[in-house]
């Protein structure tokens, strides 16, 4: 098993015919993802990358039974695409778009909650994230496929390239990943750390979890509380931004230390207290997981001397 995506996932791409959508949909197809079509308003009835294009998500659900969405729509329109997918009955929505106004996401959050209250299961991943990949089965995102390998380590992260770094270390240790989830760097997002940890805890394939956090907000502290109470699988963490100056947004809209909230120290302390392994040096995270899962003798190439 894995979480969120597998071989049976029927994926549609929003913003399918745009430059980004085309490039990444092509990469996902080459990886073997089951892309069943795309959505570009006004281009319904045409074909792109050998797949049908639909005017609306509703049409795609009706015609090709899509059950997951991958969104590449530009920031001013992306929140609307998330809601369109949700309304059409898509259950897993992955939004790659960076730069969506936070109040748009506040409104999306409210509407998705209303759908859930009405009994609809809908999961949003992102925005401003690299996507989700279940190695060997389905890649729905912009991550380079070849660094992944099927295995037992679940990875969840607020950052894109930092996720690749951790994944690559795990693969270089001869291990692999169950599912890798980029939850994104925005202040208001879909799936959070706790939601994802719950999924990994319940997933039989996942034996250990890598969680990559960063400064800003309280998602890591919330995760620590969950790990302490509910998590029986080992969790390995890195928190980026130890040396970031307070009050400045470090690239991600959500990566900012405001007053005394969201500091690196408070996150690391909470995670350590919860029993998670926190590495100071990112280059050591793969070796740390390998040591735990393989017992002894991890490859120490990347480790600190």
């Amino acid at each position: 098993m894995s979480i969120l995506l597998n071989k049976k996932t029927r994926l549609i791409v929003h913003g399918f015919t745009g430059a980004q959508g085309t490039f990444h949909a092509q990469q996902c197809l080459e990886y073997g993802s089951n892309i069943v079509g795309g959505v570009t308003p006004g281009k319904g009835g045409t074909e792109h990358l050998g797949r049908p294009v639909f005017d609306t998500a509703r049409d795609a659900v009706k015609a090709v039974k899509a059950n997951a969405s991958l969104i590449f729509v530009p920031p001013p329109y992306a929140a609307d695409s998330i809601l369109e997918a949700a309304d059409a009955g898509i259950s897993v929505i992955i939004c790659i778009t960076e730069g969506i106004p936070v109040l748009d996401m506040v409104r999306v959050h409210k509407r998705l909650n209303a759908l859930r209250a009405a009994g609809r299961g809908v999961t949003l991943v992102g925005p401003n994230c690299p996507g989700v990949i279940t190695p060997g089965e389905c890649k729905a995102g912009i991550m380079p496929g070849y660094i992944h390998k099927k295995g037992s380590v679940g990875v969840v992260s607020r950052s894109g390239t930092l996720t690749y770094e951790a994944v690559w270390q795990v693969t270089s240790q001869g291990l692999g990943q169950s599912t890798v989830v980029g939850i994104g760097g925005d202040p208001v997002q879909g799936l959070n750390f706790v939601d994802t940890l719950k999924l990994f805890q319940a997933d039989a394939q996942t034996k250990a979890v890598i969680m990559i956090g960063e400064i800003g907000g309280s998602a890591e502290e919330d995760a620590a509380a969950y790990i302490k109470k509910q998590m029986t699988k080992p969790v390995f963490c890195f928190v980026a931004g130890k040396t970031a100056p307070p009050g400045r947004r470090m690239g991600h809209a959500g990566a900012i230390v405001e007053g005394n909230a969201g500091t690196h120290a408070s996150k690391v302390e909470a995670l350590k207290k919860a029993g998670a392994t926190v590495v100071d040096n990112l280059s050591e995270i793969g070796a740390a997981v390998a040591k735990k899962l393989k017992g002894t003798n991890p490859k120490t190439k990347a480790a600190r001397k």
């Binding site: 969506i100 690299p130 996720t163 130890k242």
Partner: protein, 386 residues
Amino acid sequence: MKLLEYEGKEIFERYGIPVLRRHGVIKIGDSTDKLDLQGQGPWIVKAQVLAGGRGKAGGVKLAKTAAEARDLAGKMLGMKMVTHQTQGRALTVEEVLVEDACPIAREIYISVVLDRKNARPAIIASAEGGMSIEELAHNHPEKIVRVAVDPEAGLLDYQARQLAFDLKIPQKNFRDFTCLAVNMVRVFMDMDANLVEINPLIISVDGKLIALDAKIVTDDNALFRHKDQAAKPDHEASEIEKEAKEIGINYIGLDGNIGCMVNGAGLAMATLDTVKMAGGDAANFLDVGGGANVDQVTKALQIILKDPKVKAVLVNIFGGIMKCDNIASGVVEASKKVHIKVPLIVRLEGTNVKEGKAILARSGLKLEQADSLWEAAQKAVAAAKR
């Protein structure tokens, strides 16, 4: 983007939030004659900087005569200011505001913030204003009132009334206060703000409710629907930071001597952390972005090298959207345009890494390649010390 006090107050006025009469803003180079000092005074002269704690740092002064106000304003321009919020750095006062002085009977704290955890706006208030909310939250958490706000309905009338009762607003100011609270939320929503803060909101000796200060922080991501705002200068950014922003590069200047070019904000932060761990200090945070091309990489390198502190440059790219061969070509191109006098350390991984490494090797450029972030950081720190 953070707005200066007077910019915030201009917006408050449009929403009927009461502020004091302003007598002009002067910038460095302006004559103090530009100030329109009508009336009896006294006046308050206020440095327009993006940091709290101005009063203690000499950035807020009382003037009893018009001549004194002009004198104080002139002296305040160009002044270097260090407050508890500037992390030891000195801010230069580039603009000064003069407004009516107002004797204070009572101070209140009120702000509208984004409650990230619950994904909605929230009001945070306290019957005791004036001090920083962080201090208050730390020393007297029980004195802080929070109100959850619906993003579509705004602050409801009963919520505004409850808040007024909680803050013990006098009967005389009750109606003004509830209007103010509702309108602060409107400013927050209409402006796409991350923060709208009044500290302090005062009741004057003659019994009026007045916003004595104004702090508004807007969401950069929403600038596309606020053209007037987008056209205004970003007071927080340095010249290099503004230049970087114009070409779509996220750059933040830091104090160290190792220039960093990284793709992705998280990896960029982790690169700074790793450099520190290897015994060095980064000169900057720089995220070249996901879709950067040869031109952008060239400009990113040029920007890094503008900082005279830079003694070595570390390029750390994990290719996803960004392909390693593009980065490598950018580095080669840049080296043709800019004379790179400092050691260059490049670590490439990810999409098209083989092509990227080959381009660098073929180029004949004097640079060191590294296979891991840790190795790259160590090499950069060693190079900067040479």
